[in-house]
Symmetry: C2
Subunit: 494 residues, 2 copies
């Protein structure tokens, strides 16, 4: 076996371990009895430790140095991904990884109480430890990859993503969004108020679930290689050939579960559409969190919340739920209602980027050391005021609302907004490539558009950078233009 | 860290890997979509391979040689278990393990078709390969452990179990059971036929499941550290602090699911009752398959199918299912009906051992080489005729009915019957220790008897051999006496 082939074997084992972790993690959130939590933590730490040991073994380094992928560009990209993963893994000393893991576990626990009590001071000492350790890791990784600490953090979730890409895009959004939002709100208030419908509560869980499955299958989710279940926080997880999405049901309102299923199905189609020839290899995995979020938001924001989709879905919903008022117009208005609020995860697509821009600015300043953690609440509230016009009443609805920072996920937030921009840009390109797109959606036919996504995004996997895939698919670099056009057209055009 | 402490750490990791395999295996049988089967196989093979590599690493051998457990008998027993596991793991060459794994996967597939068509000739070539490889592995393991090949196979499932323990017990049973069975059948036919009840079908799945849970909790199953689900073949699996049992429901007949739940709960109580101080260490695991089966059969055969339990359960069933005829007598008669049949897994407790004795005699002769595989059908049918008085009509209902041999599980069958004997012997001892046992069961109070099992069996884990645990708990070596007394008393005494 050549060095390259030996590496492919090693990474296939790492991928199998990753699949085991994926199923165990799904199980923890969906199936596991409470009393197993501690032991499950130990089991998952063991798998993570074994993965790290295999990746950082001395012979891996030696193989990576002398491996020759030959002329095939996918093999070359695969080897480059292997080297990137290895460099990241060896950059941070094991005791720092362990310290961060322990500190973030502890901090998450403290955070749950602090958020409930809206008590930032109670979280501050532990969050400071997490920030310090995160920064220490980012400095070490940054040195190994020749990146600034914040870029090293971004790069963990979104390989190749850099602050000098994000900053001008977010600056532009930050300048344009406040007045755009005001215009959308003015237009919305000028329209007649949306009635209470469509449909009439209660919407039984069984009917919601059956309808969700119908929608999943309609857009191409392969049920023989995946599942739909229930969890407190919806997610897409599982393993290769076993992509599992979750949602949660509210019998008073069918829309959150429905749109949640659509959103997670977007993630799932990406996973199910990855090239089978590269299963188990780094180059065969999803490109990063921006690309992933673009796929869920493409399906949710660009497809499902459109007038065309509403005219397909309203009659299907009427059959599924009965009751009255199932006009596509009422459904569309419900799905595109804009309302500035404090909570990021409840935000609509117009106000969502503001939540992200604030977090991006604040977290990068804290990693840089130009903003002290103790000053976060004040700075957070100031940015929400400026971007959304809202006065944050307490830290529970302010800087304490998200789990990311306590968990050590600094540098993660940007991908949510970048995913929204990417989705809008992909939608423009798909519309140009598929002139019949709108009428296909009206007929409930998604084969062409999902096929387009497969070719443009899914099948490219990690063979190129996020930026390259976007540029190849849309003919231009990632920017805010398509998103802003989309918002204007959807909310201000008629 | 001392060598012994380093080994404890290593075995804790192996245990965590085993827990991961336990959850993944449960998931495969209960949750996994069909399309994930191939990939899941690869994932589980990777975990098994890693476990084997860690266990057989050169430094493990060296640590085992110089480890000193000190004076604590549990640490000494733990080290002895570590050595046994290591010796077994290194005894069989990796390519033989792999060859057997592939051959048995293939043979299992062929078996499914051969059983359906009752076509032994179609299975013969593949089963011969599995037998040859199994024997080759048994010879290698036997040499390492100074055991005969068949004892080496027994020892894999039931450490310490030997043919010279089993043979006299099974010989005695084989001599006594045919006439005992005839007496039971005569007595049964002299009684009035049992009516169709108790209760009236359909028994809704939801009601059966709720009733099953009530019974699990009544006998002490800790629902915060386990689950009840549905699978094609009921089993007890899962992981540490996460013991998962399954059953399957038939709305026409509530008894199989109910007694299945009780049976698997017996396994589960054993797992949940293992000593927490030794979690993750070899000495802290269940002793072997005979002991495990004794715990499920104790609960199912000794407790649940008793008149005392029937008088507790009948009113509870009436509340759960409604309908008529819920007399404890009718329930007891249903639960103790004896009927010789061809299928082992459907057999009652009187005829069950005959199925095992036949398989034990035949498999040991095949491993010894004194019975050729091609002569198995004839030999099988002759033994069933002699032991049960039945003429096997086709191999589907004869030697093709079980998955064990195609899967390479030679030496496994005896534990089923040994478990039944052990359960009867434990029940005699528990009755002597707990004079109120019968009336506690009538009141639905199981704390004392489960507490007795915990002390006598569960908490001893693998700190002693199966034979030692039985002798300590019952005051005498394992034998057929208690079982035969139990059968005579239950079926012939009134």
């Amino acid at each position: 076996m050549t060095a390259y082939e030996t590496l492919e074997r090693l990474f296939a084992r790492l991928s199998a371990l990753g699949d085991a972790q994926g199923v165990l993690s799904w199980d923890r959130d969906v199936m596991m009895p409470d009393g197993a939590a501690e032991r499950r933590g130990a089991t998952m730490a063991t798998l993570e430790g074994l993965r790290h040991e295999l990746l950082t073994a001395p012979e891996t380094q030696e193989l990576l140095e002398r491996a020759d992928p030959g002329d095939d560009p996918w093999r070359a990209a695969n080897l480059a991904e292997m080297r990137r993963l290895h460099t990241r893994a060896v950059a941070v000393p094991g005791d720092l990884v362990e310290a961060l893991s322990k500190a973030s576990s502890r901090c998450e626990m403290i955070w749950r109480g602090a958020r409930a009590n809206s008590d930032f001071a109670a979280l501050l000492p532990d969050l400071q430890v997490v920030l310090d350790l995160t920064r220490e890791g980012a400095v070490a990784t940054g040195e190994a990859l020749s990146l600034s600490p914040y870029d090293a953090l971004l790069d963990a979730f979104d390989p190749g993503m850099r602050r000098d890409v994000i900053a001008p895009i977010f600056d532009k959004l930050g300048r344009e969004l406040p007045s755009l939002l005001q215009a959308v709100l003015d237009r919305q208030s000028a329209r007649s108020n949306a009635e209470a419908g469509p449909g009439r509560a209660p919407f039984p869980v069984a009917a919601q679930e059956a309808f969700g499955r119908t929608m999943m299958e309609a857009v191409g989710f392969d049920m023989t290689r995946g599942r739909l279940d229930v969890s407190t926080h919806p997610f897409c997880g599982g393993a290769t050939d076993d992509v599992r999405i979750t949602t949660r049901y509210d019998e008073a309102n069918f829309l959150p579960a429905f749109l949640g299923v659509v959103h997670e199905t977007g993630h799932a189609l990406y996973e199910q559409g990855l090239p089978r020839a590269w299963t188990g290899q780094p180059v065969g995995t999803a490109r990063g969190m921006t690309m992933h979020e673009s796929q869920s938001l493409f399906l949710e924001m660009q497809i499902a919340r459109s007038p065309a989709f509403a005219s397909f879905a309203a009659p299907a919903m009427e059959r599924a739920f009965g009751g009255e008022g199932w006009s596509s117009d009422a459904l569309y208005r419900r799905m595109t209602n804009v309302e500035p609020g404090f909570i990021r995860v409840d935000a609509d697509e117009v106000t969502y980027p503001a939540h992200i821009i604030a977090r991006y600015e604040l977290e990068s300043a804290m990693v840089d050391g130009t903003l002290a953690l103790r000053d976060l609440p004040e700075a957070f509230n100031a940015r929400i005021k400026a971007l959304l016009g809202l006065t944050v009443p307490d830290d529970r609805r302010g800087c304490l609302q998200d789990i990311h920072w306590p968990l050590g996920l600094w540098g993660y937030f940007p991908c949510y907004a970048l995913g929204a921009l990417t989705a809008a840009q992909l939608k423009e390109a798909a519309t140009a490539a598929l002139p019949d797109l709108d009428s296909s959606i009206r007929r409930g036919e998604f084969g062409d558009v999902v096929g387009w996504l497969r070719k443009a995004v899914h099948e490219r996997a990690s063979s190129a950078s996020t930026m390259e895939i976007i540029a190849d698919a849309t003919g231009r670099p990632l920017g805010a233009g398509a998103y802003l056009r989309h918002i204007r057209e959807r909310y201000l055009a008629d």
